[in-house]
Subunit: 91 residues, 10 copies
């Protein structure tokens, strides 16, 4: 099952730089693992914003929530999930 | 270049059924041509809505507008375009 | 998998009464079939509005979209779907 | 009487971790008591968000407000309450 | 139990005048019955708008929905219901 | 003249508890004086929220602003005022 | 007492031209009477919109509602009223 | 003086095609006159929408309103005007 | 040229009282100078809010921006500017 | 390709003045380089706001994102990008 996920990142300005960098590095590793596993097939940067649109592949809502809520940046994110279905015109 | 395109379809209730069906058929053919050409790589149905999220591939804004404004259903659509860039974590 | 579905019904005022009544009757039968099948475990009226909040049970996004888009009142509805997961405190 | 309650949790980032954990533990115990008492029949996690949709059963508005305002996490929550009535098609 | 109810009236311009007048007369009679019964203790006009704020007294959500959905103008209204509780400072 | 006043209270989390309690106590006393004087005939708690809907009686806009801006909690409140008129159906 | 009033005019496209012109002429005469009487001290056009911002002077909310609801264009207007008070810095 | 003007065009579906085409032709001629006169230095199409962003040059608000309200498509447009000033970093 | 200016003031709670008082005093002096000069002909308090609606008179957008951006409270304000034109019915 | 970019600047009040001044100086230099290079052909101040509307010229979405995300003030900005196409009436 596919889901469109919109993530807006908002890291508090007073978070120490090194702490922030560490979380961002973990986020990158975590996301690349999921991408390699096929769970996160698409990850695009929204032009001009610290935000992304992604496509996630999950067997269930619970699995998706698990993947999203374990994102290292999850506490600093505003996330909206839109469930997607097969479009009748899609080839 | 990739663009996320959100299309909400709102066909007037008083449009004669046959006219509507004809436009919808043209829309399907038009979209499948673009999909086969690689210009419209992804087309997903938003669950529960007469709407879709799509990914378009275009060389320029003008080309994208041309593709969208020639959609047979264009007069009955609310469209929002979000330009996408490569994400630093995307593999 | 559970989904919270918000449906706002907006039947055009100029739809002939008998046509409207027929669709509403079909809607009731359709919904009661799904309720009996366990696919639509909860259906509540929003106080003061021609709208409802429902809980749907579906194996996939596609199945959910199928159930929703075949609602007889679907053309006259504004629908929002929120995917639900198990809450860590739920007993 | 049933109510749909939407709770968005927003714990300040500078709240000491142990204080936060303690409140969250109290919240879990408090909510599970109410669930066992039948007052809080449904509690679902919104996929991708630190938020939930719940169904509360209360004899009166005052009782509902009392239950909600005594949630340990209440000071860190944005809550919207939607009163629900019996739907004419509900079986 | 008290509820704040916001009603915005939007009678279609093409509804024949006499039909509209008849519905409005029924609405007035219906509302004054409820006011006399104590169910509708307050009814105020929003300055500059064809809208009102009202206070309803109801034993249950179902009773309130019943009163509201039977308003003759109900098909032409946008209604929002806010459940009210006793304020700790209210004398 | 009557006014519907919606007050959302948002006390900063880092305001010392005793300071907050003192302001809240002053707020209660201030509001109960106005209630006894007939200036603040109705004060209801919005279920699930640290907010209230109130009805104020004032001779002029200036008098109303004076009453509201002198609320001890005024600096921590979001306030919306809706002027009310006599409804033609009100008995 | 002063009120800021925002009026957005939306005359249905299918209203016969002569009927519309007649209402607009009545609106002009009605408004100029109120302006001469001092009740409508300011009337400004919002640049680029069929809308205006006005300042009304009224003894009471009821009087203001009376003036506004009797505007010939009232059925075709979206109106928002903001009560104004004397500013402490106003000379 | 410069103004950013956002125009969303919404021609009613039931407007006869020839009438619509005539207005659109007039609109093009009208806009190209203003462009040649330097009053309308920029006119861009919003990708995917029947809308534009424009830059207008006007000596006064009245002149700008005059130019906009005389657009042949004005009755079918939603227009928002943002006044612009010289940016301290602009070269 | 006239402009409607809406200013919402939001002074941070942790700004030292004396600093805040000093800025507010400067704001009052600054605004009264502009009022006496005719540049700021109207300044009204929005009832119940730390906000105002004002009418400014300026020769150009640049002059208006200059006046607004030099308000001592400018860093703590949310400002919206609406350009106004002469209304055809204004006497 | 042209893009309309809306930037709202929100520098935290507790950022040391000298640090803020330094970033602002860097921002000015950075933006003037891009303006001289033709990449940033238009930069206008929104009257009354610490915000601007700009026109950017970029060969691709990636190039635009690169330019925007390297703005020294980027961490303190809310940015919205609207892709623009050639308007059929533009001369």
């Amino acid at each position: 099952m596919l889901f469109l996920v919109h993530m807006i990142v908002n890291i508090p300005k007073d978070l120490p730089k090194d702490v922030a960098q560490e979380i961002i590095a973990k986020e990158k590793a975590y996301s690349q693992d999921l991408q390699r596993s096929g769970k996160w097939p698409h990850l695009w940067r929204v032009v001009g914003e610290y935000a992304n649109y992604s496509i996630f592949e999950a067997e269930s809502n619970d699995e998706l929530h698990d993947m999203l809520s374990n994102l290292p940046l999850f506490p600093y994110m505003e996330i909206k999930v839109t469930p997607l279905a097969k479009h009748p015109s899609a080839i």
